[in-house]
Structures are given as C-alpha cells and as structure tokens.
C-alpha cells in the first residue's frame, strides 16, 4: 500500500470516529450547526480524496451522504432519528470499506444501491415538517448487510431499521463539555499535533529510563564530593523534566476510549429495550497510550455489563420507584499516581445470594466455604473465571467471559479493580490504573542482605518493631504469625522465610513491617531493614524467573545494585492471605471516635517538639535545604510544576544549604502544605488541653506522651499568592512605569 493511501486511511478513520461522536450528539441537538459542519467536512474530505485515489464505491457513497448532509447543514432539513440512523449505517459501510482497503488494498465488491437510495429517500423525507420526536421511516426496505465487526454493534443497524419509530429517543447523551465548542477544538488539536511512531516513543522512554538510573547512581556517588553536587542537582532536574516531557508525549485523554461509548450504549440499550442515559465526566484526564489501549477491552466489557446486567428494564425500574431511564456514569479522574475510571450504574445492584448460588452451581466454590464469606467477599466471586449470572446468553454478554478478563487485564498493567454495590441502588466498578508503566515509585527493603523493591502503590504504612517488640508483640497461632495493628490482627509474611533465605524465623535485631494492600488482601511483610524510596525503572525478567511467581520485574538501584521487584498480590496469594473481611477504613474511624484521643505525628522542629494530626499527613519527603525557595517572603518547595507552601521554623538553626530537611506534606482542606522539620520522631495518641479557667480546648498545643507539645496550625500557613494577585501587582508596576515614562 502506498504512503498516500495509508495516510488517507488514517485520516478517514479519525474522521469517521469524529463523525460518529457528532452524530450521537446530533441526536441531542438536532440543530447543532457546528456538529453538522463537522460531519459534512468529514464526508466531503472522504469523497474528495477517494475520487483522486480511484475508490469509486467510497466516492459514490460519500457523495450520496454529502448531498443529504448539505441539506441538513443549510437548514433545509432537520435531523431526525431516521436520518441519523441512516447516516450511522452509511458510517458503518464506509468503515467496512476502509477496513477492506487496509487489509487487501481493494474496496471489495458489494452493491451499495440500497444504501444510496436510502440516503436519497431521506433527502425528500418530511423536509417541510420535521418531526424531531418520531423520525421518518426509511423509504426503502433496508438491505440485509453482513456484520462488520465481531462486536455487538453489528445487529443494531438492522434492529434500528426494523423499528425506527420506537425507542430511538431512548438515549440521550450528555457530556460535561460544552457540546458545540467541541468540534472546533478538535480541528485545532489536529493542527497542533504530530503523529509520532509509538516504537520511537517507546525507545525514547527506555532511554529516559536509563537516564533516570544513571542519575540515581550519580546522585548517590556524588553525595561525598561537594563540587559535583550542583551539577548533579541540575542533572536531576533535567532528567525529571525530560521524563515528564516524554511521558506527556505518550499521554492521551481518556476521551479516545470514552468516545465510542455513546454509540455503543445507544445501540445496546435499543437492542435490550432499555432506556439508558450516559453521562461522562473527566474525559480530559490523560493516560499513557499503551495503558489506554490496554484498558479499552476491560472498559468495554464493564460498560456492556452495566447496561446488560446492571440497569433494569424500564417497567422494572418504574416498579422499583425509579426513573424509567437508567443512568450510566463514566467518570475518570486522577488520584495521586493513578487514574481512576468509574463505571457507575443506578441499576439493581449485585444480588449476593444469586452470585453465591451461581458460583456453587458452576463449582467455583463450595457451599461450606461461602458460609464463611462476607457479603463483600461474595461480590468478589464475580471476578472468578467462568462466572456469569446472565439468565440467558445474549448477544451482549453472558458468555462466561467478563469480569475475570476485566480484572486480569487491569492487574496485568499494575492496576486494580474494585467493585461496590448496593441492592436496588446500583453498582460502581472502579478501575485504578497507574499513570505509567515504565517508572514506578517503590520502597527499597532489605532482607538477608539483599535489596528488594516494593511498589508504593500497594504500601499503606510502615511499622518499626524493636527487638523487644518483636518478641512481645508478634503473636502466633500454630506457626502463623500475627501482629496487632491498632487492635486488629494483621497476618504477617516473613520475607526471608518466604524466599527461603533463612531457616530461623526471628532476628535478634528488630524488624520492619510493611503493611501492604493487594487484590483486596491485607498483610504485613516483615523485612530486616528499609532504605529510601526510589523511582525505579522496571526491567522485565526472563521467563524462567517469571515462573517463580513472586517477582514482577527487576531494577537497577541508585547504588548500582540490582533489586528484584516484589509482587504484593502474588505474595499474598502464595502465603494464603485471605480477602480482607471488611473495609478497614470505616472500622479504623470508629475506633478513633470511640477513643476520643487522636493520633499525632511527633516531630522535632527548631529543637522543640511539634506535632501535626496524623490523619492530615499525606507523605514525608527528605530534601536538601537548598531546594527550599523563597517567594514573596514565604518559603516554598517546588515539586515538578506545583508549589508547596512551607511552614519553616528551622531557618535559624539550619546552617548549610546541604543539610537534609524532612518535609511533612499535609493536607489542609483541599490544599497541600508542608512542614519543614529536622526529623520525625514518633506517632503517639494525644489528648487535647483546655486552658485553665476556661473550657476552651487550645488549638495550638496537645498533650503527647505526657508532654505539652505545640501543634503546627496548618490553616495558618499562608496561601500562595494567587494568580489574580500576581496580575494586579504586574498592572500597578506597569502603570508606574508608564507614568514614569510620561513624566
């Protein structure tokens, strides 16, 4: 295939995707002029180019479509359901032909007369009295066509043509963005973007990974030689920026995947005689291209499932006192280093009894075992391979492949799937996807003199045990070690024993427990020591080592040492850690309210003890003092392109800019603030103090370990000068200058 044809194919396919989007929107806004113009442009471009390339089938079809669209665009005809269905069928045929050209270089043989005639007929269709609610029936009998894709989309066009009067208006598609502005934005995007070969991007990403590794090594080597420090910091910054830029280049908005859902949901709903309204949020959220590709199928599955199993038939919904029209919500947002995609329906919810019965019937679990499981654990059964509760195997779903595929695919890329359901209220499926695959933040742990990396995503907290505590607080039931973490038993896995590095279980010198959450299992991984967290570049393992099943890859650390990356989920499974029985969070909260006293993080700031409430702490960073910068009289810290206001009382005591500072990053409502301290001492429960004579609790002090400790008031950390304020400053400055010049 020559370059020109290839270019044409890519362009046309993109155009048709846009057209599909616009058509489903057009149903909502039949007079959307911008939408019509966009669709017209697409078809017109295809017509123009095909004539030039000699694809006559495409040309005649596009021509017929263009005539109809011309009338619509000029307002001589108002788009109704019949016309939109007709145009969607045209779109399908055009896609099919493009597919054939791509695979064989030929248009293929088929008679398009019926389609062209249908489009002609639509031109005469009630041009005078447009009826937006009904939609005119197609004048020519629909020709039987072959399915284009093995997807469920195929039968819909026929279904529509057979009964165009009913249910066509069943779906309304809402989008959070202003609808009319979108096509124009897309045109601009096309102009300002560049197609880059993914292979090249992958190679760039690998190189950046190498650079990160080298930087890590240099940073560690250089800490001794002072002169190189400045240079190495610069290298650090350049590497971080470059990495970000390359990653950005690989990012695409999730709308690339979301955009096909309006049509899919519309078709599915018609096929199943359901009424579904699709609401999409956060389409601008960006994700790495390869990850986006990887979640396409799981997400499609989930949406299909939600329409098929989740949302009930209109009469059933009305009987349950709900609106006949079900709402399916797709929501994407970034949360830390993850992107969360939610598929949320307001349908009947998961029926736990039915799930249990089905699982027993399919011999996925024994009846005795189900009796021990909680409701939440029973819900997880839908992720088992071979599970499906659909009454009948429909075209849409119920082939027994589904949720297990969703889970496997998402976990394959380091993500997680969570399901939440309330009977009668609906189901929410949450896919948590890491922002990128290649570089992950990890905690380096030591076991028996060897380093291992634990992905930060699975880590919830760290507990240090002194030798006495190991002896006193690690309890055992028949060899199974447990630790009481805030009153709850946490199963322990000893890394050295797991890896058969040691015969004896206990160590003379204390231990660290890394509390991990993986695949709904919670356990403590006991290691000998901890090192700093590091951004690691994941290198794949050879198949022989993958077979061990506990390692997800390897990496090179800053000190040049290699470390295996532990797979928290696999360790849990191999150690027979069960699903966490209940959600831990609500229980922990209950425990807190029951006790009255709150936990505080005890720190040393300018030689004095200071504290912040533990629940406001997000993370703790260690940085050289020189990274703290001054802005308008306040201390700030730059993380990539975000600024963190700092509370810094250590200024007077810290001597050299090379001193390592500990920054406790806290959240104060929505904003993040940092507290600069010399070191973090402990976590302790504290009691509030009341001022003598009054009964008012002081806001600035707390009783910790029988000592009065000052509380850092996060609210008093000044906000960053807002953008508007900056603008004002600039204006006055400029005004001064103008005045100075005129004077």
């Amino acid at each position: 295939m020559d370059e020109l044809t290839r270019e044409f194919l890519i362009e046309s396919q993109e155009g048709l995707d846009r057209m599909e989007r616009c058509l489903t929107e057009l149903e909502e806004h039949p007079e959307g002029h911008e939408l019509l113009a966009e669709i017209f442009r697409t078809v017109h471009t295809i017509k123009g180019t095909t004539g030039f390339l000699g694809f006559s089938r495409l040309e005649s079809l596009a021509h017929a479509g263009e005539n109809l669209l011309g009338l619509l665009r000029d307002g001589k005809l108002l788009a109704n359901a019949g016309i939109i269905s007709g145009l969607l069928s045209l779109l399908d045929i055009l896609r099919e032909i493009l597919g054939q050209i791509e695979s064989s270089g030929q248009e293929g043989e088929s008679d398009d007369a019926a389609m062209i005639q249908r489009l002609h007929a639509l031109q005469q269709n009630d041009a005078v009295t447009p009826d937006p609610s009904g939609g005119g029936p197609p004048q020519s009998p629909p020709k039987k066509r072959r399915a284009r894709k093995p997807k469920a989309i195929a039968p819909l066009a026929e279904a529509q043509m057979a009964k165009p009067q009913e249910g066509i208006r069943a779906i309304e598609v809402y989008q959070s963005e202003p609808l009319v502005a979108q096509p124009r934005a897309m045109v601009n995007a096309a102009e300002s973007t560049l197609r880059v070969d993914v292979g090249l991007l992958n190679r760039m990403m690998n190189l950046v990974g190498e650079l990160v590794l080298t930087r890590n090594q240099i940073l560690q080597t250089v800490s001794a030689a002072a002169g190189l420090a400045v240079l190495s910091r610069r290298l650090d910054m350049v590497t971080a920026d470059l990495r970000e830029a390359v990653m950005k280049a690989r990012m695409q908005p999730v709308s690339h995947v979301f955009s096909k859902f309006p049509r899919m949901v519309r078709d599915l709903a018609q096929q199943l005689s359901k009424r579904v309204r699709l609401v999409m949020e956060g389409q601008e959220t960006e994700l790495d291209k390869s990850l986006l590709e990887a979640i396409k199928d799981p997400l499609t599955h989930s949406v299909r499932n939600a329409v098929d199993h989740g949302i009930e038939l209109p009469h059933a919904r009305e009987a349950a006192g709900k609106d006949a029209e079900g709402i399916l919500k797709l929501r994407a947002y970034q949360e830390g280093s993850h992107v969360v995609i939610e598929v949320c329906d307001d349908g009947g919810g998961l029926k736990v009894e039915r799930i249990r019965d089905k699982a027993i019937e399919r011999k996925l679990i024994t009846r005795e075992r189900t009796a021990q499981l909680s409701e939440r654990e029973l819900m997880q059964l839908i992720f088992l391979p071979g599970f499906s509760t659909a009454e009948a195997i429909t075209n849409v779903s119920g082939r027994g492949v589904g949720m297990d595929v969703v889970r496997t695919n998402v976990e394959k890329i380091g993500g997680r799937v969570e399901i939440d359901s309330r009977p009668g209220k609906g189901t929410t499926l949450r896919l948590r996807i890491p922002l990128t695959l290649a570089i992950v933040p990890a905690l380096i742990v030591h076991s028996n003199g060897q380093s291992f990396a634990v992905p930060q995503g699975a880590l919830s907290e760290l507990v240090h045990l002194s030798p006495e505590q190991v002896a006193a607080q690690v309890e055992r039931i028949e060899g199974a070690a447990l630790y009481r973490l805030r009153g709850k038993l946490l199963p322990l896995v000893f890394l050295d024993a797991l890896l058969k590095q040691y015969e004896q279980m206990e160590k003379p010198s204390g231990a660290y427990i890394a509390v991990l959450n993986a695949e709904g299992r919670r356990y403590g991984l006991v290691v000998d020591g901890l090192a700093d967290p590091e951004e690691i570049v994941v290198k794949p393992l050879s198949s022989v080592l993958k077979r061990i099943g506990l390692f997800s890859g390897a990496t090179v650390l800053g000190n040049g040492e290699m470390a295996l990356i532990l797979d928290p989920g696999a360790i849990a499974a191999q150690s027979n850690i069960g699903m966490a029985l209940e959600d831990d969070a609500p229980q922990a909260q209950e425990a807190n309210t029951a006790e009255v006293s709150t936990e505080y993080l005890l720190m040393q700031s300018a030689g004095e003890p200071a504290a912040v409430p533990l629940d406001s702490v997000l993370r703790i960073e260690r940085i050289p003092r020189s990274k703290m910068e001054r802005l308008n009289g306040m201390t700030v810290l730059r993380f990539a392109d975000t600024l963190l206001p700092l509370n810094d009382k250590t200024g007077a005591t810290a001597a050299s800019p090379e001193t390592e500072m500990t920054i406790v990053v806290c959240h104060d409502g929505e904003r993040h603030v940092g507290v600069a301290v010399e070191q973090v001492l402990d976590v302790a429960p504290g009691d509030s103090l009341t001022e003598a004579g009054t009964h008012a609790a002081t806001e600035d002090a707390v009783l910790l370990k029988d000592k009065v400790t000052s509380l850092v008031n996060l609210r008093k950390i000044p906000a960053l000068p807002g953008a508007r304020q900056l603008g004002e400053v600039r204006e006055t400055w400029e005004a001064d200058r103008v005045m100075g010049a005129s004077a």
């Binding site: 890896l499 080592l545 290699m562």
Partner: protein
Amino acid sequence: MMSSLMLQTAAQDEGIEMCSVRVGQTFYGIPVTRILEILGKTAKQPVPLAPIYIGGLVHYRGEVLTAISLRRLLDMPAHDASEDILVFEGADGYFGLLVDEVGEVMTVQPADFEGNPSTLDDRRKALFNGTYKLSNALLVVLDPQRLDPVRLAEAASS
C-alpha cells in the same frame, strides 16, 4: 571491509575459532561467533527461589540479564571468587553464562572433532556437543543454544 570478510572465510576453511573457558579443571570451547560480549568480573544479584542453575541477575546495557551458572549446571560446588560472564542471544532475549575464567581464543580443526563419549552421564551429554582433541588436552564444545534458560526450564519441567 572486503578483506576482513575474506580473512574470516579463510579462517573458517582452515579451522573454527573457539573461545576457551575454564570451569573447575575442565576447559570448554564456545564458538566465538556466538558470543556477543565478554563481561569481566561483574557483580551479580542472586535470585531467591530460582532454579539451581540460575547464577543470578547481571546488569548489561540497560537490560537485566539472567545468568546461567555452568558450575551449578554441572552439579559442582559454588565458586567463591567472582566469575566471568559471557553474553549470548537466546530465544527470550539475552542471557549470561557464568564461568570461572575466560581463557584465550584458539583455532581448532574439524578433523580433530569427536562426539561425546558414551560413558558421559546424561546431564553432561545433554549439554556437551562433543570434543576437540588438542595437542595437550581436550576441549569440550558447548553449544550456547543448549544453555538457553528457556530451554533449560523446558528440559527441567518435562
């Protein structure tokens, strides 16, 4: 370019170039054309729970190599001193081979080749390709393909 090519073919006519490596008391020969690179005493990272013949992980040009230990493969006690590493291309990407020491490159004559002796144990028969009779010693031929971890894993599981 042309002349070096001709030199190579000329060398092949006369004999085969073998890189000799030593493990214990035995000298082994590996065809030089198969060797991608020889790394000196590079640090290696042990892999817990790995099959016994896995010598560890080695950092090689941004990749993490799985290194096969010839000693362990031959059921010999582990070597305390650091070992030399040869890099080969296998079915599953690059892999390394740990040997006690890399020796010199020598040219052997096809006429001096003989198959494995029938008295050799099965494990060695599966690994060795035959022997070249040198004037003062024997050079056991190793075929890197037989040392590929993918192949070794298959052999172990079957």
